[in-house]
């Protein structure tokens, strides 16, 4: 459930952030930028969960 929600959150944020990005001029650049944002959200989320997991409180 949590990973599904996180993926949906990342996808929605990535779509908008990549579309409004002023540096991307073509659709291809926007798609690549969006995939990077999506991957970053998921990667950082999983990394944080792995780092925080041993903390008991």
């Amino acid at each position: 459930m949590h990973v599904l929600m996180m993926s949906m959150y990342a996808a929605m944020a990535a779509v908008v952030l990549a579309t409004v990005d002023p540096k991307s001029e073509t659709t291809r650049q926007r798609v690549i930028h969006g995939l990077k944002i999506f991957g970053s959200f998921l990667g950082i989320g999983l990394l944080l969960s792995w780092v925080l997991f041993p903390i008991p409180w």
Partner: protein, 162 residues
């Protein structure tokens, strides 16, 4: 010394340092800019629709309204600034002000939900739902992303980007 070029010499001086704009964005009139920004806040993507950016308009509408509706369906709550407890530094509870600011960014989504009584379940009961925090997060996301979309619509209307 370089040889003089007759072709260059014959160009009138007011053309000599002029660059020819190629595919530069042009600013829209002030009235249309204002309409685009207000429409963008009220309905996500409507500002881009007013500026003729139909693809972006559809994408923003589906994403942002989708995030808001998903949040509501996950038992998210519509926040309103509440008065802080007596003795607090500020009159209002700051976290509810921030949550309200995030949610009101989605414009009519928030207003219509408020009018229809959606997302108005009192906090203790709403928080009992296991998806309460997910719902709130998606509703915050919708409003905050719409602020970016409003900014994008303004930039396009002002001729700063395509």
């Amino acid at each position: 010394m370089q040889p003089r070029d007759t072709l260059t010499d014959n160009i009138p001086p007011h053309f000599s340092d002029r660059t020819i704009p190629f595919n530069e964005p042009t600013p829209f009139p002030l009235a249309r800019r204002t309409v685009a920004v207000i429409a963008s806040w009220l309905v996500p993507g409507a500002g881009h629709l007013a500026l003729g950016r139909y693809g972006r308009a559809l994408l923003f509408f589906v994403t942002i309204v989708g995030a808001f509706v998903l949040g509501l369906s996950l038992n998210g709550h519509l926040y309103w600034p509440t008065v802080a407890e007596p003795g607090s530094t500020f009159h209002y509870d700051l976290i509810t002000v921030l949550w309200f600011f995030a949610e009101i960014g989605s414009g009519l989504c928030y207003i219509a939900s408020y009018a229809l009584g959606l997302g108005m379940t009192p906090i203790p009961q709403a928080a009992a739902s296991p998806t309460f925090e997910y719902g709130n997060t998606f509703m915050f996301l919708a409003g905050l992303l719409n602020y970016l979309v409003i900014h994008d619509a303004f930039d396009i209307a002002a001729g700063r980007k395509h």
